[in-house]
Amino acid sequence: MEMNENTILKFEDLDISFRTNAGVVHAIRGVNIELRRGETVAIVGESGSGKSVTVKAAVGLLDGNATVNRGKILYRYKNDDGTEKVVDLLAMSKRELRTTINGSRIAMVFQDPMTSLDPTMTIGKQIMEGILLHKRGDKAFAHARALELLELVGITDAEKRMKNYPHQLSGGMRQRVVIAIALACDPDILICDEPTTALDVTIQARILELIKDVQDRLGLSVIYITHDLGVVAKVADYVNVMYAGKIIEVGTVNEVFYEPKHPYTWGLLAAMPDLETDDDRLASIPGSPPNLLHEPVGDAFAARNAFALKIDEKAEPPLFKVSDTHYAATWLLHPDAPKVEMPKELQTRLERAKKEAEKYQ
């Protein structure tokens, strides 16, 4: 299995569909994502674009009605004896995945801390559970480790909190507990599925800082799923923009933020609230994502795209290379395409943001 040495997780041509009463929904249509050791990759998109499904496939949490049609999710890890090994997570049985990967090597933080903790179990037990499960030590060790983790994620009075039930904690505290649970067995990869969406704005920033802090301290690789570009700018090294089950633009944060090529990315950036824009209206992308019950013909975004070309209705654009790290799937990058620039307001806005950013670097 071919994989760059630094790459720790790689989604290769992932293709997933769901059986529903209304028919087959082709939710993921050939996704490629690469995560390198110690780096942070963000997956951005509207709800229903398939971001969550993509990562759930990696941790064996797909719903029962999902079918993986194609693709691999390669994961490189060090065995206990120090040798490196590459496995395809999709080829592993659920049992294998749970015993060797989940929690111990790849951990997950869920979107809503109000529902992601077991209401009938003390948080101490919930943290210790994983440690005991993966046999990292005895009960006393697990207890000490849980205390340590609670302190790591910034919960004071840890000894007392261990005995609390989830409903006794606030949303932000609960998300800290969820992060502590995820970190319990020193995983290599942390997958954060919209970890701040359900929280108050003031708490969002603190949780983001916390994740970044533990990432730096523990050398984790992180996958971030979000629809909030503000979050991406703060945390990510690489950005994947996802639309209708496909990655339509990928690049470093700077590339995607300051030189976006795909009209959909333009739309997302233009829709970001910005203090300095004096436009009265917040720009938004017209329409809604396509219903993947009916496979779109051509470019899935064409119907909402003000810069759609004739070919968009006939053929799906391939990923065009912009730079070694920057790719975008839009026919506008084809040599024959007319020269279309991003909207003026967005351009000025991005330039301003770029200058701002440079000032602080």
């Binding site: 209304a22 017209p286 809604s288 004739k310 007319p338």
Partner: protein, 329 residues
């Protein structure tokens, strides 16, 4: 992939013009209720339920009319000797040539111990049960909804008092209500109806109140309140339509409860009285004659079970259609 086979021409790279991209074509065409209806119609079990219920209603309406016997008529004829011969305890049969006294008669479900046509009586009984169920549940729906909506809307002290009443009413077992009623009123259809009226509204009022509490604080209601709309106007014009879904679901589950209750009250002898008949009294009669005429008990039991099945399926269908899970979308 098929796309790679397509070789784009120069003309393909022209901007598309003259399109309307601002209208949302994915969702605009489907209203909420249309979505619910489509979901319900696609639900196979719900459709089976609708079919069963419709079939029983049709048979209950037309079964007795089409029959050549009345539900309380004893089928008999007078023979040459002037003796009356009664069609007692005849097994289900279709009229045929023969020497027996009733061979030419058709009794699809046979006749009972007194010589009455079981087919006619079964559908007449089904009719009585259905009428009782529909009438009481609809009245209960009106009472329960009004009570719950008012209680939920005004909140505070009004709500507290009204909910205490519900709590007490809910603590009285149905049987106790029936037995006290038996002191005050003659046994029969009236007693069954009143007993159901006194108990079934509670569930509806709880649903209506919960919906009211949920919807009350939503923007459009607050908006019309600040605009000075009258309380009753808000309750009945704005909130009522939104509570209709869960209430109808509850109705679909209450109807079988009512049918069940009628059946068991009639069975123990405080419900439908002679010469009327209902599903319950027919089952009782069948039970009394089970050793001699065992087939007699089957038609009312099957009709009862099918009624329950049908209404439960429809109720389930409504519930799923109103709150679809992603999986069965």
């Amino acid at each position: 992939m098929a796309e790679t086979a397509y070789v784009p021409t120069k003309e393909d790279f022209e901007l598309l013009t003259g399109r309307d991209i601002t209208t949302d074509k994915n969702f605009a065409s489907q209203s909420y209720w249309k979505g619910v209806a489509i979901h319900f119609l696609r639900n196979r079990r719900a459709m089976v339920g609708v079919f069963i219920v419709l079939a029983i209603i049709l048979l209950a309406v037309f079964g007795p009319i089409l029959s050549s016997y009345g539900y309380r008529d004893i089928v008999s004829y007078t023979d040459e000797a002037g003796k009356q011969v009664v069609a007692k305890g005849i097994a289900p049969q279709i009229g045929h040539a023969g020497d027996g006294p009733f061979d030419q008669y058709t009794f699809l479900f046979g006749t009972d111990d007194l010589g009455r046509d079981q087919w006619t009586r079964t559908w007449h009984g089904a009719r009585v049960s259905l009428v009782i169920a529909f009438v009481t549940i609809i009245i209960d729906m009106i009472i329960g909804m009004s009570y719950g909506l008012i209680s939920g809307y005004f909140g505070g002290a009004v709500d507290a008092v009204m909910q205490r009443i519900v709590e007490v009413a809910n603590s009285v077992p149905r049987l106790v209500i029936v037995s006290v009623l038996a002191i005050f009123m003659p046994k029969g259809m009236g007693l069954v109806i009143v007993a159901l009226l006194l108990t079934e509204w509670i569930g509806m009022s709880k649903i209506a109140r919960a919906e009211m509490l949920r919807i009350k604080e939503q923007e459009y209601v607050l908006a019309s309140r600040t605009l000075g709309a009258h309380s009753m106007h808000i309750i009945f014009k704005q909130i009522l339509p939104n509570t209709i879904g869960p209430i109808i679901t509850q109705v679909m589950f209450s109807i079988p409860t009512a049918i069940f209750t009628e059946a068991f009250l009639s069975f123990v002898g405080v419900g439908i009285m002679l010469p009327q008949c209902s599903i319950g009294s027919l089952i009782e009669n069948g039970f009394n004659n089970i050793t001699t005429l065992p087939y007699q008990i089957l038609p009312p039991i099957i009709v009862l079970a099918l009624q329950m099945l049908g209404f439960n399926f429809i109720g389930d269908g409504f519930r799923e259609a109103l709150a679809p899970k992603l999986e069965d979308m």
